[in-house]
């Protein structure tokens, strides 16, 4: 009996992570990009004009957005070589499980980049992120879900085009905005020590966009891979 949608998705995610673990190309590229971005922003920053608490959330989420794109680019790229995607398309599994498997692998990828980049931001900007670790982790997870939900779908759409590397950011970035705004606003209020009620509103917005994006992208995915 063929695996369930979730079972097949986990098989695909494990396969993608095994490939990334062995090649490490996208992960090292994304981490290097993130760290270099943080350093460049740091040296371009005038602490007398803008406070660290005001700048850090924007740097953090700007860097995540672009570093995550590097991993998303590769998500369906590995399927194009030797038409490996036909192995998945020819299997007796729901098309949605392919999307879900890719999204799970992309989520792990983005989360791993965050684990390295968040302490780097704390170090360079001397912001007390450790004090708010749990709340920040919740924001990071919710934002990562939204980013990979949209990015995985557009990665599948862009990969068959000649301008895939340019098309993915052009398609994805407008849809990242509703995720990045509440994530950055929530982080800024968190670092400023604002009341929890102010942060909860932004978290609710993140959850709402996550639900909409995951559901819509999973429904749309089968149409993007039909020939």
């Amino acid at each position: 009996m063929a695996p369930s949608t979730l079972g097949a998705a986990l098989l695909i995610a494990r396969k993608d992570l095994a490939i990334e673990f062995r090649t490490r190309t996208a992960f090292f590229s994304a981490v290097t990009f993130a760290l270099l971005g943080i350093v460049i922003f740091f040296f371009a920053w005038d602490p007398t004009a803008v406070g660290a608490m005001d700048l850090a959330p924007g740097v953090l989420w700007g860097i995540f957005t672009f570093a995550g794109l590097l991993g998303l680019q590769r998500s369906f790229g590995v399927e194009q070589a030797d038409r490996a995607i036909d192995t998945l398309l020819g299997a007796p599994i729901a098309r949605e499980s392919i999307y879900l498997g890719k999204a799970i692998a992309n989520f792990v990828f983005v989360a791993a980049v965050q684990v390295i980049a968040i302490p780097a931001v704390a170090l360079f900007y001397n912001v007390p992120l450790a004090e708010h670790a749990v709340a920040l982790a919740i924001i990071a997870v919710l934002a990562a879900i939204g980013l990979v939900a949209v990015g995985t779908l557009f990665s599948a759409m862009a990969v068959n085009t000649r301008l895939a590397e340019m098309l993915l950011p052009v398609l994805s970035l407008p849809f990242f905005v509703p995720i990045v705004i509440p994530a950055a606003q929530g982080t800024a209020r968190l670092l400023a020590g604002r009341p929890v009620d102010e942060i909860i509103g932004w978290l609710k917005l993140l959850v709402a966009f996550d639900i909409v994006f995951v559901a819509a992208c999973m429904l749309a995915f089968p149409f993007t891979i039909e020939e």
Binding site: L11, D86, A91, P92
Partner: protein, 233 residues
């Protein structure tokens, strides 16, 4: 096991396959010949459930085209691309397919499939380090690991050396004897005819000639093929 009636596929204004009608029972093997661009791969991809027909009807393993999970579960497909993940080992590639097809002991099934293709000694080697011929053997092991009712093969002899070709020929003959239905696309006419119960020549998207029950003269078939292809050019 396979039956089509007026099957066709258009890509925009271009008609890649048109009015293809044939039927095969259990254990039948159709050898399909034709020049590049004749529509052979498009036809195979429709039968594999990877491509939606735009004309006609078809049925594979009791499931109407374009099919779904039931059809894909009954089919093994070998394309002219390897369909393998280069960073994974031969065993991991075959095992992944076995798991996606819901096989209980996927690891043992993968080991058996690789042993049939005489690759047990290289099963833990990453595919990117294998020669083209060995990759082709892994491809065949991957496509047949779940003992499909229908096997669709697109140029399976490409890249194989003599021993690989012999192993593949023996494997396909055993599958046929076991009741597996096959459609074999190849440019190697003698190898194709040796395995076939039906033979067809495809040209410009249509079946220009179709014979059943081995009612052909193998020695003159190449001449017939060249004549037919040249007339259509």
């Amino acid at each position: 096991m396979i039956a089509t009636s007026g099957l066709g596929r258009r890509f925009g204004g271009r008609r890649a396959v048109s009015d293809v009608t044939f039927s095969l029972g259990a254990g039948d093997c159709l050898a399909l010949f034709g020049p590049n661009g004749a529509g052979k791969t498009t036809l195979l991809r429709m039968l594999a459930g990877l491509l939606r027909p735009t004309e006609g009807t078809g049925e594979v393993a009791g499931v109407a085209l374009p099919g779904g999970t039931a059809l894909r579960g009954a089919v093994g497909y070998i394309s002219h691309a390897s369909m393998l993940y280069a960073a994974l080992s031969a065993r991991e590639n075959v095992e992944l397919t076995a798991r996606l097809f819901g096989m209980r002991d996927a690891r043992a099934a993968a080991a058996q499939a690789l042993a049939r293709m005489q690759l047990s000694h290289r099963s833990d080697t990453p595919v990117r380090l294998l020669s083209r011929g060995m990759q082709q053997r892994v491809t065949i092991a991957r496509a047949t690991v779940h003992s499909p009712k229908v096997v669709l093969l697109d140029e399976p002899f490409t890249g194989l050396d003599d021993s690989g070709s012999a192993a593949l020929g023996a494997h396909l003959a055993a599958l046929r004897a076991g009741g597996t239905t096959m459609v074999l696309v190849t440019h190697q006419i003698p190898e194709g005819l040796a395995l076939a119960t039906h033979a067809a020549i495809m040209r410009d998207g249509t079946l220009a000639r179709m014979e059943e029950g081995e009612a052909w003269d193998a020695s003159s078939y190449l001449t017939v093929y060249r004549g037919l292809v040249a007339n259509g050019a």
